[in-house]
């Protein structure tokens, strides 16, 4: 007898769902969790805020301390150090080149060693452009005609001998070195000294002074949040966002529940009405802004209708800097118009889940329409309303294009709009991230409050 599914087969099956959800998990981790964490860090962490000073001109040498970005330092010494070829592309490097050369000293002995690029004039290159031969340069403004040849491409390495100016040399090899500086600076009035790479310094003047251009260590900071709060648009944006939430959401819920009750009453053409009510679900907030702009603009429909009715004699300007209240009202109408659909869909879905007999029972036992709504429908819709409320609140923090269209961008502004402005107009990604983080915090905070409030009500009920 063959069995239809062996126990082995059923055991293997357990893995199937994990394999099936794996792509989503990986995708969300890559494109959601990772950037989300990054975004939060962006708002609180300053990259390269501190520069580490080393005891010697080596990356793995002991730390002597850290100096903040922008600090002034004096340069005490300098030295070239090998760097990896891929780092050569970094900006702001100060480099020096060294050639490995072979030539004869005045005594006629062949010397092979390293000399700085500045001491050799290249005379010949091979087909790939690499220097192969040259002559020793005379030192300008100096009587010393000799150039020291070192054992290693380092100023302080052992001297093997010296070559006279104009001596022809073979060039065997070349390296590029990054200059390290020994610097001295002040941190909290304490002097601090150590070696740093040239890439982090802006050397000024005669080469004895410098400024820390960027650091190699990041630091947590509240400065982006401070910048955000100190921005003159911050408080208006926050206030308007909260005000809009407060006036939009209640109206939306009332409208959505009425719509859902109308659908529930199943009038003729209920399917058609349902479609109409859901249309705005698919309308972008930019389009919504334009739609309502056509109503409120100076030569728009509102003025046309009022004038047609003889209520006004000429067009009134509604959307001007002097009439913030009108702009807020226009945004209010536009948002109620657009985003009621999502609440309605959630409420209707919730109502469909209520058993028809339960509603009939309420009716048979004598409940009036209002009593049915109050005692049966609304309590049973509570989970749906809760979801809708959380979702709507979170979406309300993201109102953006509607505001841009109706207010021109800064007469009335909201948090999302400021995020965009900081990123796009002011090129300040960190402050933009601070706005984004604030929006996230507010969203989570309200969601938790809603969940708490509802749960504690249930506890009281039980």
């Amino acid at each position: 007898m063959k069995t239809i599914s062996s126990p082995k087969g059923s055991k293997r099956r357990i893995w199937a769902p994990y394999l099936l959800i794996l792509p989503s998990l990986v995708y969300l981790a890559m494109f959601f969790a990772y950037p989300m964490v990054n975004g939060l860090l962006l708002s609180v962490r300053e990259d390269g805020a501190l520069l580490t000073l080393r005891a010697e001109a080596q990356r793995d040498s002991l730390k002597t301390g850290q100096i903040p970005r922008g600090a002034q330092v004096s340069i005490l010494d300098q030295q070239g150090n090998l760097i990896a070829p891929e780092e050569l592309a970094l900006g702001n490097l100060v480099t020096e080149g060294w050639f490995q050369i072979r030539g004869q000293d005045p005594a006629g002995e062949t010397i092979e060693g390293w000399a700085p690029e500045t001491r050799i004039r290249v005379r010949e290159t091979n087909e790939s452009g690499l220097p192969v031969a040259g002559t020793v340069r005379p030192r300008i403004g100096s009587d010393d005609v000799f150039t020291t040849v070192h054992a290693e491409p380092k100023e302080n390495s052992e001297a093997l001998g010296s070559l006279e100016a104009q001596t022809p040399v073979e060039i065997l090899d070349q390296v590029t070195l990054e200059v390290w500086y020994r610097v001295r600076g002040q941190v909290e009035d304490q002097p601090i000294e150590g070696w740093v790479q040239s890439r982090y310094l802006q050397v000024t003047g005669d080469g004895t002074q410098g400024r820390v251009n960027r650091g190699d260590t990041s630091q947590y900071t509240t400065k982006y949040f401070q910048q955000m709060i100190n921005n003159r648009f911050f408080w208006p944006a926050l206030r308007t966002t909260l005000l809009l939430m407060a006036i939009i959401i209640p109206v939306q819920f009332v409208l959505a529940i009425i719509m859902a009750l109308v659908i529930q009453a199943n009038p003729r053409g209920a399917g058609f009405f349902l479609y109409i009510f859901t249309i705005t679900l698919g309308v972008s907030d930019l389009a919504v802004g334009i739609v309502w702009y056509s109503v409120f603009t100076q030569f728009g429909y509102l003025n046309s209708i009022l004038q047609g009715l003889g209520l006004i004699s000429g067009p009134i300007t509604y959307l001007s800097a002097a009439k913030q209240d009108w702009i807020i009202m226009a945004i209010w109408l536009a948002e109620v118009w657009r985003a009621t659909a999502i609440v309605m869909v959630i409420v209707v879905a919730g109502m469909q889940a209520i058993s028809r007999e339960v509603l009939e029972a309420a009716e048979v036992f004598g409940a009036t329409l209002w009593q049915r709504i109050r005692y049966v429908i609304l309590p049973l819709l509570r989970p749906s309303l809760q979801v809708a409320l959380i979702l709507r609140t979170i979406l309300a923090f993201q109102v953006f294009a509607v505001v841009v269209v109706l207010s021109g961008g800064d007469v009335v502004t909201v948090l999302a709009n400021e995020t965009y402005r900081q990123y796009y107009d002011l090129r300040n990604a960190n402050v933009a991230a601070a706005y984004a983080s604030l929006i996230l915090l507010l969203s989570m905070f309200t969601a938790i409050v809603y969940l708490r409030v509802v749960r504690s009500q249930e506890e009281v009920a039980e």
Partner: protein, 363 residues
């Protein structure tokens, strides 16, 4: 006085006539069962009485008050729903007290009546529980208690036992019957289960195709069905119907089944005379058939095809010519498959059916 009077009620859904010109009177405190196969219109009729689906034509009155077009809340009725329709967000107490609360019954009175109803249904210990935590049988009791707590004179029940398992259904059936006798409300009870109908109703109305075919006491409906459909629908096993032929021989009216000749009771003769030379159906209940192990002049020879022991009885399926007949016998009676036995039909238990109309003929 809460007599329910349904007069010429018709209810359509589009072109489909769900209830077709139905008239029915349920006396005060009477327990009427509406029974019929699914789609026969029994629930639609009940909902018209409840006000959950208004009648298109006709009149419904309760206790002499015309309620045809009144909304449910103005009919002062209560109801038990098929799915119980317990409010999932209220505890048992609030569920039972719901109708009283929305009618603004005074608080102490409400509490007294809720407790009373809960005690009647033995659920007084669960009053502060939520329906989620209760079994199907307990929810059923809540639904009944909620209906009873209203103390309305009219109680409607829409297949209240159909979602219970067999054992629980049996238990609740007896309990409901006791309870309803106790409270004495005028009750309409809808079911598709003929056993429930027979065992519970004071009267049962058999419905089919939107019409009431027969409305009478259970024993009458069982014993004297109005037509062939009721005979097969009510009772288990269904009534047997055999093809027969009426023949007048020597001035007597006889009925032939194959080669067997049967003499009808005298009372039926005037009716059967009209069918002289015509085909007719003979209806007989399985338990009304006598089984003989020997030939007799008034017994019909049959061959046993199936024996189904049911514990309290054995149900035999026997072959007569090309037809089969169900016969119930004492469980101790030993019969073997393929055995030939003889059946005797007591003439007063035979029902004669017009083959064209399906109507049962009565003197």
């Amino acid at each position: 006085m809460a007599e329910i009077k349904i007069e010429h009620v018709t209810k359509r859904f589009g072109n489909f006539v769900a209830v077709d010109d139905v008239s029915l009177t349920v006396e005060d405190q009477e327990f009427t069962v509406l029974v019929g196969p699914s789609g026969c219109g029994k629930t639609t009729l009940l909902r018209a009485v409840a006000g959950l689906g208004m009648a298109d034509e006709g009149r419904i009155s309760i206790g002499g008050r015309d309620v045809t077009y009144l909304p449910p809340r103005e009919r002062y009725i209560s109801m038990v729903f098929q799915s119980y329709a317990i409010f999932p967000h209220m505890n048992v107490f609030d569920n039972i007290g719901f109708g009283l609360k929305v009618r603004k019954v005074e608080k102490l009175e409400l509490e007294r009546r809720v407790r009373e109803a809960a005690e009647l249904l033995h659920i007084e210990d669960f009053l502060d529980r939520y329906p989620k935590a209760l079994s199907g049988g307990q929810r059923q009791r809540i639904a009944v208690a909620r209906a009873i707590a209203m103390q309305s004179q009219v109680l409607l029940m829409d297949e209240p036992l159909s979602n219970l398992d067999a054992l629980l259904r049996l238990e609740m059936r007896a309990e409901l019957k006791r309870l309803l006798q106790e409270i004495g409300a005028t009750t309409i009870y809808v079911t598709h289960d003929q056993v429930e109908a027979l065992s519970m109703g004071d009267r049962i109305a058999v419905m089919r195709g939107g019409a009431i075919l027969q409305y009478d006491e259970p024993s009458v409906v069982y014993d004297m069905p109005a037509n062939q459909f009721i005979g097969s629908f009510i009772g288990n096993p269904p009534m047997n119907f055999l093809r027969a032929q009426v023949q007048r021989e020597d001035g007597r009216v006889n009925v032939r089944i194959g080669s067997f000749t049967l003499t009808p009771s005298d009372g039926m003769l005037p009716v059967l005379k009209a069918y002289d030379g015509k085909p007719i159906l003979l209806g007989i209940r399985a338990e009304n058939t006598e089984i003989l192990n020997h030939q007799a002049h008034d017994a019909l020879e049959v061959k046993i095809l199936v024996v189904e022991p049911l514990g309290s009885q054995n149900l035999l399926t026997a072959q007569i010519g090309e037809e089969t007949i169900k016969v119930s016998t004492h469980p101790n009676l030993a019969v073997r498959l393929g055995e030939v036995v003889w059946l005797r039909f007591p003439t007063d238990k035979i029902r004669w059916v017009d083959r064209d109309s399906g109507q049962v003929l009565y003197p």
